[in-house]
Symmetry: C2
Subunit: 227 residues, 2 copies
């Protein structure tokens, strides 16, 4: 017969709890009303993601971005460095660079921005650069011709699997997000994106934010399942 | 006993028809579907309305605007002349002037424009300048300090009483307008404005248009009565 110490019992229980998933990644049930389920909204300003080679050209060999502040999504940050976007039709100065570096350059604009530059950018989820437009990225040390890099971000929701369960939605589902301000707007085609390191938030751009007259701070919208 | 000529009969019948409203201002029933009732949408770019005194200062005494093209609303037109809007924070060049002249200056911007100028403009229906922001209007002959003139236009629907009857709405009613593009958006608080010289159209600004990815040309949206 085996005898167990208090420490043994504690370890066994801890192990069972850990394996059961109890108390781990358990999302709180969203606050519900007639308007839908409450969900935080964040506005993405225009920005660029750079690859290693482009950062070398724009800021110098082996340059390292300086973090200005963390963004809500784990590991993502806004850097102190800025670039200028240039086309033959126009330019936009002081555009933020998000870190960390990526395998491909990606420039995310609003349609208002795209009009200033005179580029025809498609609506895409981040990472999908099919049909993306061209732009020159200008830094203090050089210029990169970023072909096929410019998109207008499709509105999306970041959430974990536990969040998805709490909201009753699945990865890739198209939902509606309503913003109940003095300029009430509903975005009817917003994509759910599920990943374990995501932090719950709807991401919209400044055209969508302006149409709803929301800005900065902590905005709460409502998620409504599409029929 | 009185006898009536053919002409008398014709006149009597014409008079009865005229008074009954039969065949007059009878709007066609809107095309309906699950999405709502079809309705034309027009995008208003940033523009200014000027009073007589301001036009004198900006372009010279007794200056007369040159019509570039008629707008959809009866009597309204875009002029060839342009002005620049200036604040200490920014400026926007080549802003259109709508004719005819009005009793008060009114500058209609999008929130994107307001951000460029650094002004805090309220959402208002045209003509309501409560809390409107200040801006300098610069013309070839002078500068006008247009205090309390800058608003962001509240989305609205122009229609006649006959249209209102056909759509089952009344003047001042708040309805929803959906735009079924690849960036489907519903504006949930759009005001019905009824006047006999109005031409059926929803008027939205460029932030709302960009959020829905609609631009130029002939856009059809759907009107949905709010619950």
């Amino acid at each position: 017969m085996n005898y167990f110490s208090e420490k043994d019992i504690y370890d066994i229980v801890a192990n069972v709890v850990a394996q059961s998933g109890l108390g781990k990644n358990k999302a709180a049930a969203p606050v519900c009303s007639d308007e839908g389920m409450e969900i935080p909204i964040e506005i993405s300003a225009r920005h660029v993601h750079l690859d290693r080679e482009s950062l070398d050209i724009l800021f110098g060999k082996d340059y390292k971005l300086t973090k200005k502040r963390d963004l809500s999504q784990t590991g993502q940050y806004l850097s102190e460095e800025r670039v200028k976007l240039v086309t033959e039709r126009g330019q936009i100065a002081s555009v933020g660079i998000l870190g960390p570096l990526r395998s491909k350059n990606q420039v995310e604009l609003s349609f208002s921005d795209a009009r200033i530059l005179g580029v025809k950018a498609p609506i895409r989820l981040s990472g999908d650069l099919e049909g993306a437009a061209d732009v020159l990225i200008v830094g203090p040390k050089g210029v990169v011709s970023a072909k096929g890099s410019v998109i207008v971000a499709k509105a999306h929701v970041h959430m974990t699997a536990a969040d998805a369960e709490a909201y009753g939605v699945v990865d890739g589902e198209h939902v509606s997000i309503s913003m109940g301000t003095d300029r009430k707007v509903t975005l009817n085609d917003v994509i759910i994106r599920v990943r374990e390191d995501y932090v719950l938030a709807v991401h919209i751009d400044y055209d969508e934010a302006n149409a709803a007259n929301v800005n900065g701070g902590h905005i709460v919208g409502h998620l409504i399942k599409n029929r």
